[in-house]
Subunit: 422 residues, 2 copies
Amino acid sequence: MSTITEMTKTELLARRAELQETYDSYKARGLKLDMSRGKPGAEQISISADMLTCVAADEYIAEDGTDTRNYGILCGIPEARRLFGEIFGVPADNVIVGGNASLTLMYDYLSTANWRGVCGGQPWASQKAKFLCPVPGYDRHFAITQFLGIEMINVPLSETGPDMDLVEELVKDPAVKGMWCVPMYANPAGITYSDETVRRLAALKPAAEDFRLMWDNAYCLHHIREPHDTLLNIYTEAEKCGNEDIVMMFTSTSKISFPGAGVGAMAGSPKNIADVKSRMTVQTIGYDKMNMLRHVKYFGDLAGVKAHMEKHAAFLRPRFDAVETALSRDLAGKGIAEWNRPNGGYFVSVNLMPGTAKETVRLLKEAGVVLTGAGATYPYGVDPADSNLRIAPSYPPVEELEVAMTLFCICAELAAIDKLLK
Amino acid sequence: MSTITEMTKTELLARRAELQETYDSYKARGLKLDMSRGKPGAEQISISADMLTCVAADEYIAEDGTDTRNYGILCGIPEARRLFGEIFGVPADNVIVGGNASLTLMYDYLSTANWRGVCGGQPWASQKAKFLCPVPGYDRHFAITQFLGIEMINVPLSETGPDMDLVEELVKDPAVKGMWCVPMYANPAGITYSDETVRRLAALKPAAEDFRLMWDNAYCLHHIREPHDTLLNIYTEAEKCGNEDIVMMFTSTSKISFPGAGVGAMAGSPKNIADVKSRMTVQTIGYDKMNMLRHVKYFGDLAGVKAHMEKHAAFLRPRFDAVETALSRDLAGKGIAEWNRPNGGYFVSVNLMPGTAKETVRLLKEAGVVLTGAGATYPYGVDPADSNLRIAPSYPPVEELEVAMTLFCICAELAAIDKLLK
């Protein structure tokens, strides 16, 4: 098979007509498929149904005797801090267990840093703060940074993580206050930071004392297939360099228990945790401890969570396989697209021929398939190459996904040919 | 009985010796009683136990078909917005249903106003913002304002609400950006704003366009005994004056269902709700909808909530009666204290002889009874008269409360005599 760039104009036009016909036939089917967000389907969520009944109404007492139904306990019940401590790989004392969203914990952390400062430092807003953003990345991270008026700087992400030479150079600017990291099964690239990357991040000596790695380990247990990726513990590595204040870690059970009613948590050094508590003690009387207790009673410990995650993997594996199958079958060797084959997470990241991502999304939308918008994986919604698309295969049933992916490949090729014919 | 100020020094010394003896005997009992926070006791919370089982694991679907377990729905499921709309007395579209704490909704609102501004206005922090604080008031309100660096101005609270002549004068200062209000069964004063007060607040024309009444209607349904207080609907009144943007309303089910796992909500004009949503859409994917659904399924509608509140009242009534009984029996006519007899809410506010509140709290603490700290009901923790104390009778069992209140009266009288003898 020749790549598309090797084809003559006549060949391209012929192939185009063929694709257009298939596209039109799909369009006529009036599809309505959503691959826009990394949300599990209803059947997958039902895996956790027993959590809702695992604590009897009169048993909502924490191990320290706290009535979880009542007010109090700022940082979470002890057993929940311990469980998240296991997940993060840090002592329970370094953990704050929050509400149903780690995203809110991140927003609260950065918005407070922005107007108030970090650990007694000056407010970031008064220093024209900048943030490093590995790309492609998570649109909601970028939305927070943009909302707060923090300038975002793109840092290319490779198979081993962000370009560390560039990062080490950029942090010499004291206005650079932090960096977004989804270190495991990155959203959307699906890669996991290498040991060397983690060590270099842990050892960073930024000009800004209040520089923070926003370590969003959202997919830390979210393996799909063997071999599982492994991630070095950034906190342990940072501690070795006396650098433990550099990292704020986040995770949640959104994709472990219930996306809308899970438990979010954060972890950090004693200094950072004390700093966060000084705000939280004003902001809340305490997060939902009943939901925390449900989670701990249901999972027990880290081993329990891991066993549970295998059930999720069983749901996700055929979906990721369907994506891989369609891409390999319809696009491999054509010079149109490159993609990853992640071992976990929720996304497949596809790099199309530059200048064709928006058009691909448009064509798909016209045929009834909604994808995350082109550009969404970049700060300010601007992918300079107009190339990256994020496929979220978790929600649709496999058979619908197969249809959507076939159409995806048609649209990508159509867009590529149109680009070449221009 | 003569008031304490009419007694001779000899009489005072004799009474003092008598009181000291009783005090010492109580102290010897090694009491451990907590009247510091307005939290319900375990038995009272159990009233709502059936809420935890009223939705089967496979029935967590909202009326619009939303799977409440999954992501999404920024402002809350329709039925929850409708229920809180009934409670607030506004249309469901004017309501945002949040997480487990209205306090967090208030904090988020004010912190955003402070760094970002309200409805496109300038950040309050750039304008040396001030806030009006009816006193005595709620310590957690004051803590938020203080944390944000907003200057607090005391406004005396009477039986009819805040001193409106003073309020109308103070809002001529464009730096005055808002005012805390607990309009019904005020914390701690127990009074409810009169119709005239509500109308004057609704008609306020502050110099600051972005002035907001923080209308914390935490006790809107929290009657204890007949006659129930009634409160005019501030939103309706404000609308009549074309002034609906002036009020942000807050409430929660913390003292209706579970203090630690209830549902908080806010309401306001379309303009204000759109403003809040513009932040929330960055801050969260959505609050816990499963808990919202549990609440709606359990209560049904406003009538259901009201019926439920009668069960709470049955728990609280004997506790408030015990406080009233002790105060009347031991302090009435002595010129030592004045107190309210509220028809609802969670507190009894006691004004002691000026200069004796701190000493009373100290004496109580030494004997094992914890009260909210003296001064806590004032901004910056400073009660200029050192007179006001907040009694929270909900938590202890009645028999313990009777002991604590007897001791309270002893300590108040001891402190008063010592003050006179100085």
